[in-house]
Symmetry: C2
Subunit: 337 residues, 2 copies
Amino acid sequence: MDPMTKLLLRAARGEAVPHVPVWFMRQAGRSLPEYHEVRAGIGMLDACRRPDLVCEITLQPVRRHKVDAAVLYSDIVVPLKAAGIDLDIVAGTGPVVAEPVRTMADVEAIGGLEPEAVGFVAESVRLLVAELGDTALIGFAGAPFTLASYLVEGGPSRHHAKTKALMYGAPDVWHALCSRLAQITRTFLQVQIEAGADAIQLFDSWAGALSEADYRRYVLPHSQAVLAGLGVPRIHFGVGTGELLPAMAEAGADVVGVDWRTPLDVAASRVPGKALQGNLDPCTLLAPWEVVATEARRVLAEGAKAPGHIFNLGHGVLPETDPDALTRLVDLVHTEG
Amino acid sequence: MDPMTKLLLRAARGEAVPHVPVWFMRQAGRSLPEYHEVRAGIGMLDACRRPDLVCEITLQPVRRHKVDAAVLYSDIVVPLKAAGIDLDIVAGTGPVVAEPVRTMADVEAIGGLEPEAVGFVAESVRLLVAELGDTALIGFAGAPFTLASYLVEGGPSRHHAKTKALMYGAPDVWHALCSRLAQITRTFLQVQIEAGADAIQLFDSWAGALSEADYRRYVLPHSQAVLAGLGVPRIHFGVGTGELLPAMAEAGADVVGVDWRTPLDVAASRVPGKALQGNLDPCTLLAPWEVVATEARRVLAEGAKAPGHIFNLGHGVLPETDPDALTRLVDLVHTEG
């Protein structure tokens, strides 16, 4: 299969497409009953290490919704765990790190990531490529800032206060930490690409907590180190990043992900020449269908202002979303997009 | 005392000032040891109902930091409680509502607010005005959207999903709820103004969760109903509102509050003619003093692009902030601003 026939890749490169491709962040998992069935009794990080399960969970939304891309079932902390960091995902909380990273000694104790340590990911990708036909496979990783926030805070955080305090107060420690995380992240993405992933998405979920000046000084160089010359289309996304879109594009994005706060036509004027992905508010899917349809048509119309548009939500699928609404939305995008 | 000699009011009206006035959101409480001392064993909402305590807590940061404004010690749920809604503030969680509001019947069960029901607030303001001299007193309230989110979700929320689902799916219920909340909020502010508050701040803390289109359709008319013709300078603030600044100005702000994501010179170009308040990242205060000073000077320089500038943080003081850093920051603004 010539990868260039895959719709998502054509849209990412700004080429003409018969219809706008569509997938959903967090489409694999959470909202699907068949997901909860196969995950029953299996921890999140254990599931991510089993290629049979990763393959099944990744394929479930493709079968059900007919989306134009699969996104690897994984978690942003998977490469950290594989690099030897003691952490777990606690249901209802999120990632919890046993020993928060606060000093240069803490940073130096973090090992690099050897590709063999994530062999299960390579195997998962190979299984998926064999199944997916002309549906693109998107690999993914968390960006250095977001990973650093989990490591410094010790878990999820509302204000990222300890993270910023380290960044402002000990920039040498901060940059050393982000350099290590950039190596880990880049290796993790390269493993996925070498195994056959068609594109990758770098999630800097929490980058929107930063001003543009701080983003450029403390984050951009590390995200650039991750994204430079990966050889496949690169999608770069964060939440609340309206002020950061140009800087995130400069970090090395081919496709800039946009949340629901910034309309795609506005985003197109901030990052001219870039393909865009987003920006339907995930909460819209909890509304009656007429509201979903109206909003989806708005997103399609505004997305047409960008050189390429990949239809997606402005953040991940909410667990309480009715899967049938997602299926119907895919159908609308395929018919009208 | 002629209120026009109060620096904060002159800056709010874009008049010349000898130096930039400064106060801090959440300056009363949290970071001050003398606050924890007087609050010991007293619940938050009980403290808000005791004029002697409100007066003492409101004055503490004025005495300690020499800020140019006091902000009434209260909470955005105080008027809701006074209107008969069964709720409490749970330490470590925030406001918790006994019966979430989801239907028209739930909305109709919410009573209006009689000024007498918040007589303790009027008494607190009168005590404060007698003490404050030429330091301005800022009254405050939560805006309809933010209050509605607490009522619909039943407590704090990350995605405001039930709130948005109600907004999109039952707009009649939504607008009825916000109309009631606008009446309650306006009455609460009028009580403070009649008792002598010099200015008010309307906190729409969570408005930044909305796109501009949703804000204009579902929120703006209700905030306008609160703010119209109150007769004192009106500050309007929310977090993550970079895309909403023009709409929030239209809601009736004399001073637009700006978080740390949008530099004040950028904000000035989005809301020409408006005074601005903000935008030092509260996390900066956890950094070494040289970082605080550099950032404060940047904020002063960028704020000079607006017709009036009130120095403040981009969000509330974090509990772990060293009070001495705040005092030193006030001194810097008074010397250099």
